[in-house]
């Protein structure tokens, strides 16, 4: 457990009388890292966030958030350094955006000027004086984000932040997130929407029934999952049959074949050998495209495995 981890969980469990929400979780998020936490509904993601926030105490194990136990008395003063966007939050519908953000800003000792700046950042500058009941789901989500960014947090916990956002708003949302990460903010993000996370995350943790089933960078996870690599080869007209036969000797499986295109699957370790062979074919091969397994596929592999 080093100081460079913003979040470290050691064998943390949280059991309720009715069910085991989280069991034996080890999770380390280095400072300035953007970690995605993925898993089914009920996999224990929200419980994990509550544990990190110090809202509930673990049944077993210990955790250190920004260098302190989150249930500590000291940690209370550090709450200003943590921003949180809950999954479901309904704000008082009769309040205006301005009233709401100022209420939260006061509690975090943040100036009015800064909270209006934040409303601009999340794109709610024009809607600031409208009542919250007129806000769309996406606007409420952005208001939630503005609230989480109050007080210059060093750690951000975002629970399903992009649910209900349209593609443009999502893009805008990830722009903000990227800026924050570049400033060195540690971000833990829960999401179901996996494809959009791929380009953003430094590391991924997959949870299933309260346990961490996989954790690491996307490359590490791909390696561990051992999913075959997809290769699409474009060749000169009518040459496909001719090159298909020798390729089979290189552990490749032909999945689709027509006049000009060949689709192959091969184990990741056979990749280079296969590519070299394709290179030797010279001008017959016109194009090679490689497809890494997507986060969706990885997730499907890991989420069906029980235990790490």
């Amino acid at each position: 457990m080093t100081d460079s981890n913003s979040i470290s969980l050691n064998q943390v469990s949280k059991w309720y009388p009715s069910h085991k929400a989280v069991s034996d979780v080890d999770l380390f998020v280095p400072e300035g890292c953007l970690m995605a936490l993925v898993g089914h509904n009920g996999a224990g993601k929200t419980t994990l966030m509550k544990l990190i926030l110090g809202l509930i105490r673990p049944t077993a194990g210990n955790l250190t958030i920004l260098g302190k136990d989150p249930c500590d008395r000291d940690a209370f003063n550090r709450r200003e350094g943590i921003g949180f966007l809950p999954e479901n939050v309904s704000f008082e519908p009769n309040m205006t955006g301005r009233e709401l953000i100022r209420f939260y800003a006061r509690l975090k000792h943040e100036s009015d000027k800064r909270c209006f700046e934040l409303m601009e950042t999340v794109g709610l500058g024009d809607a600031i004086d409208r009542r919250l009941k007129t806000y769309s789901k996406g606007m409420k989500q952005r208001l939630g984000l503005a609230q989480a960014l109050l007080g210059k947090p060093r750690l951000l916990l975002l629970d399903e932040p992009t649910s209900g956002l349209d593609p443009a708003a999502r893009q805008q949302f990830y722009d903000i997130i990227r800026d924050l990460r570049n400033e060195g903010v540690t971000i833990l993000l829960c999401s179901h929407v996996l494809t959009e996370l791929e380009a953003q995350t430094d590391a991924v943790t997959v949870m299933n029934s309260g346990r961490v089933v996989a954790s690491g960078s996307l490359e590490q996870l791909r390696e561990r999952a051992g999913l075959p690599l997809n290769i699409r080869v474009t060749v000169k007209e009518g040459m496909t049959e001719k090159i298909a036969t020798p390729l089979r000797q290189h552990q490749a499986q032909i999945t689709r074949l027509n006049g000009r295109h060949l689709e192959l699957e091969c184990p990741p370790q056979a990749k280079m050998q296969l590519l070299r062979h394709l290179g030797e074919l010279g001008s017959v091969v016109e194009d090679i495209e490689l497809f890494n397994s997507s986060l969706d596929q990885l997730y499907a592999v890991f989420s069906t495995r029980k235990g790490a």
Binding site: L55, N77, P86, E87, N88, E92
Partner: protein, 276 residues
């Protein structure tokens, strides 16, 4: 300390925005005025002070209405925020649970105080303008009514908080709020009366009955208003009890104070232990 004021301010503004304060104030003012002008008509030649008669009628009605208003204001304050998800968020802010519940309490009792003072106060001014003469004693009794109504309301806000931290769902809280109201406002008195009738004054003496009344905030309020002031005591027909009473008004006042402090402290304690 700042956090407490911020929370209290939000509760107050919320009540202002959703017209809660307006409705409660208007209700109390209407009630006070109708009692003053209709209720005092049959006084006739007794030459009782119009103000003091109004105080007595108002006190009897406050006992029913104000606890209801207070419970409706407070029953969902904690459980409602938990259900809406805003509690989870708020608890990640640098606000302790004691600060939160105390801020809410300040806000709610201020809302109730404002409604009572403005509602009853405006009626009081109208009565004074119509009465032939108003003595300082009249004003004293009226101010006493407003003050004790605020205490009564605060005691029931406190009880409402206790319900709100104990239950898991809002629906349970509202059911319990009605039960609490029924118990303290109606059933408790009926039970005491029943025991008195059965007992025929054998074992239950007047001072013991007085003591029993302190175990109910609504009765403490009655005791304070109907016997606490000389003028009203004579008019309220409670003078026979009050005359024999060995309990000075301080007891009723203390009992009301305890009814505010004890449920509030318990709810703060339960809330700080509760897992979200």
């Amino acid at each position: 300390m700042n956090a407490i004021w911020t929370i209290a301010g939000k509760e107050f503004k919320d009540a202002l925005r959703n017209r809660w304060i307006l409705a409660a104030t208007a209700l109390l003012a209407l009630l006070a005025l109708s009692l003053a002008f209709v209720g005092t008509a049959p006084v006739g030649s007794v030459r009782a002070s119009m103000m003091q008669v109004t105080v007595i009628s108002l006190a009897s009605l406050s006992v029913f209405l104000v606890p209801l208003i207070a419970l409706m204001l407070s029953y969902d304050t904690i459980v409602g925020d938990i259900e809406r998800g805003s509690m989870l968020l708020l608890m990640t802010y640098p606000v302790s649970r004691w600060q939160l519940i105390f801020g809410k309490f300040l806000g709610h009792s201020f809302i109730l105080s404002l409604a009572t003072t403005v509602g009853y106060g405006s009626a009081g001014i109208l009565i004074a303008a119509n009465a032939e003469s108003t003595s300082a004693q009249d004003w004293g009794a009226f101010a006493g009514l407003i003050g004790s109504t605020i205490l009564l309301g605060s005691a029931f806000i406190s009880l409402g908080y206790l319900l709100s931290v104990m239950v898991k769902e809002r629906a349970t809280a509202i059911g319990l709020a009605v039960a609490v109201w029924l118990f303290f406002v109606l059933l408790y008195d009926m039970a005491v009366l029943g025991i008195l009738v059965v007992d025929q004054g054998e074992t239950l003496k007047a001072d013991l009955v007085n003591l029993l009344l302190l175990f109910n905030p609504a009765d403490s309020f009655r005791l304070l208003n109907l016997t606490g002031f000389d003028g009203t005591a004579a008019l309220s027909g409670m003078s026979s009890i009050a005359g024999r009473a060995i309990l000075p008004p301080w007891f009723a006042l203390g009992a009301l104070g305890a009814w505010i402090m004890i449920p509030f402290t318990i709810s703060g304690f339960l809330f700080s232990r509760r897992e979200l």
